[in-house]
Symmetry: C2
Subunit: 203 residues, 2 copies
Amino acid sequence: MAETHSLELLVQALRRLPGVGVKSAQRMAFHLLQHDRDGALQLARALEHATASVKHCSLCHTFTEDDVCPTCKDPRRDRTQLCVVETPADQAAMERTGAYKGLFFVLMGKLSPLDGVGPRDIGLQKLFDRIAAPAAPGEPEVREVILATNFTAEGETTAHVIAQALKGRTDVQVTRLARGVPVGSELEYVDLGTIAHALVDRR
Amino acid sequence: MAETHSLELLVQALRRLPGVGVKSAQRMAFHLLQHDRDGALQLARALEHATASVKHCSLCHTFTEDDVCPTCKDPRRDRTQLCVVETPADQAAMERTGAYKGLFFVLMGKLSPLDGVGPRDIGLQKLFDRIAAPAAPGEPEVREVILATNFTAEGETTAHVIAQALKGRTDVQVTRLARGVPVGSELEYVDLGTIAHALVDRR
């Protein structure tokens, strides 16, 4: 292809997006240049702005533009509960339920030894520091850590490692989201592992 | 979700990419900010650079940074043949075959009346002007127009409209890529319309 240099560079840059291969990247580049140059410039500005201004909350490690994120600042949240999730998207899912009023800690990843992701690559030490001391002097300490990592092999491993590390702390209760049959599902179509867990954890 | 403003803007900007919904856009934004800020800045620069420097070849309408693209400039190409394709990606596919040595005309779209895309929205008039006069004074004129638009409803319509418009020109031969059984395929699994076409066009 008699591709121009800057078009080629654009295709290469788009390929760095997760889930975008060379065909998609070409299609995106052609679309932007042919139909949406405004969108291309808007995206360029958004990328530069976000890269410059988005950092991590010093308390919960999620993305924020301030030192402390709005959730951690919110005085109405229960500061004795700390829900540990893998990503801001998981945090958002928890928030949308409206069933949780405590604080969060966002690991920004999960343990994955096969991919070389160890405890240092995600925020585990920061989590333990966070649990060891209250968010600010005079504030109530964390009494319950709710492990809400994903129910995948890596998420379960991450939850297990955190639970093990907190085993000695008698002042902190460590809980895990319940495993069971999803709301609205028919038993016939639920996988056997889930049914077995739901049976063991029946109440 | 306690999303930061610039993160939200980035997600919105990423959604303007074709085939990217809100979940993919969030995943892309998180990935760039968490793991690949270099990639984010590289993408921003590539977008700005491509938007500023990529324009259309004055002869074949494809993307280029110069007035005339390298293919149209190449003195070894047969200037009497003009292959009409929908997109630069289609042009690239034709080039990779190594079986075509003529010039191209890239429509940058296809007729699609249902979507409000008419002859003016794609480069049809530019194509007719290109056929009417040689690329440069003294150069050979176009003798054959090879219609290589896609074999979809829109591509066929586009080919039909071009063929109709060139019907009166006795000095220009209009051809269409052959329809037939793809190389390597078994008749049993080829759709009936394709087999019927291959039968009619047998040689």
